[in-house]
Symmetry: C2
Amino acid sequence: MTDQPTQTGRIIISVDAMGGDSGPAVVVAGIAKSADKNPKIGFILHGQEQELRKLVAKRRVLDGRVVFRDCPDVVTMEDKPSQVVRSGKNTSMWSALEAVRAGEAHGAVSCGNTGALMAMSMLRLRKLPGVNRPAIAILWPSRNPHGFNVMLDVGADVRADAKDLLQYALMGASYARNGMALSRPRIGLLNVGTEEHKGRAELKEAHAMISDFADQANFEFVGFVEGSDIPGDKADVIVTDGFTGNVAIKTGEGTANLIGDLLREAFKYSPLSRLASILAITSLNRLKKRIDPRRVNGGVFLGLNGTVVKSHGGADATGVSAAVKLAFTLAESGFAEKLAARVASTAALAQDAAHSVSQSE
Amino acid sequence: MTDQPTQTGRIIISVDAMGGDSGPAVVVAGIAKSADKNPKIGFILHGQEQELRKLVAKRRVLDGRVVFRDCPDVVTMEDKPSQVVRSGKNTSMWSALEAVRAGEAHGAVSCGNTGALMAMSMLRLRKLPGVNRPAIAILWPSRNPHGFNVMLDVGADVRADAKDLLQYALMGASYARNGMALSRPRIGLLNVGTEEHKGRAELKEAHAMISDFADQANFEFVGFVEGSDIPGDKADVIVTDGFTGNVAIKTGEGTANLIGDLLREAFKYSPLSRLASILAITSLNRLKKRIDPRRVNGGVFLGLNGTVVKSHGGADATGVSAAVKLAFTLAESGFAEKLAARVASTAALAQDAAHSVSQSE
């Protein structure tokens, strides 16, 4: 960061400015929002430098807070992860991760192709020692006092065995402690029923393993939870495989969007209902804000050497700013280091536990 | 039905009056609603006869339309399916299924324990020839013109291989034709992305098999769909395994309930918003009715020799009546017979298809 000495003391977020559905202007608007709210934040911006310099020049709040990295290529939403890891060295996504790998930035944010970002992150940042499958964790609106639950995995990998689910529990607990300030998070394991005899074999095995680790990893294990508990208040962290998690959050999002659209229609139906919608606008906006997915935009990649936040491809400036804030919060809390220590200290024990569970069966 | 000669010409629904969360009074209120709307319906009511007779006597519309079957025992929500199939012969649930098996009723409805009902149904009604795993299909509010999509399996079995998923597609298509009058239903296979290379191995195999059957089974295959398409308008029938389906619908329900509660809170917030809620009440009630789960109450068990509808355990009279109506509609359309014919005609072909797919890999 030789070209920007004013960055000293700031927490630096490495931002892939390309690859989102709305283009780099929205990304720059998003980081400007973050810079405006947070004097402790600085950026390395990756993409077509000429274009980015123009966009940044329009935002006075970004003066002296952005370092540029020129990248000729962009990963598109259609690119296959397997190709991108081979031929993607000149992309803004690669460059954004490289800055984290080299220790120049404290975390990375990208709105690009999720599969490509995960494949590249695994290649460049490498998995934490002891982690078999990294996971993507998101926040979901819930009935809990803090307003959101952590859910993982929501799509890093379509498979997860009992040991992977244990690691998700450990990583999710660490995330809830550092990202949401919950000192002793409650962990639930997603199943089709709460009775211990229900569900798939790997879930019964994972139930025993997670239960064994609750005390030493400082979380509370509430046992099996159901889909209805994802937005509920029974657990703070919902653990599942990436296939189930991905389907569940997309179903929840789709249902919420349908209700939102039908609500708007209902309010347009008659003169009386149109008047009602004007009277209720403040209350409805408050509700909207409470469950606004943009406010909690950002899937965090867990289990890597470094913090990577995947912002929604269709995120607007508010969404990008939320993802940047998440990367900042985690960087400031020293999350990556704490998670690495947690996983390392339990990895050996997990091996033992897996061993004894499989022997006892 | 010797004690009720007036039932002649009616479609007879066998109703398990016990085992729901709200007791037999709600079940009787529900069948009275149905009887009031539909002169072509008659009932066999299973449970503690003395109590049921008292409840029925209060509803004039049920005069001469109910046959009673006295059953001393009740399956509770806590009973394990494996126990119930051994020791449940004197329960109202068993008796309700027995009436279908004996050909005295055209379909059965129960609000009881889902797992027990499925286990008993498999034991008493037996699987259709060619069906490996029966499935539970539900209707989910959607953006489609008919207002709902069919989704299966939502929890009959936590496993499903490619051949099972093909059978679900065939059974779901048949259900959509007979239950929803869609002549050529669009079938989608649930996955974590719409690209053909995504997801688990059994899904890729199922994709090929379902695609091969689309023409001869008279449905359109739209390929992979995502969780967001469950309430969407891309497909009419969503096919998935029972684990994923169960988690998805419970997540959707939980999210919808959370939004509903927050909406009520929002309208209570200020005098202005309270006034707004009064002005908007008609519109909001219309919205509520549109997505009211009670209106589409009833999971249909597919793949058995006979129609069984599982009503929600917490259903009120409106919910019970909706489940009864569903059983009636399916019975009237000759659904069970058509489905049996469809599965039989494709079972042999499916075997061949599975064989050729596995050979080509």
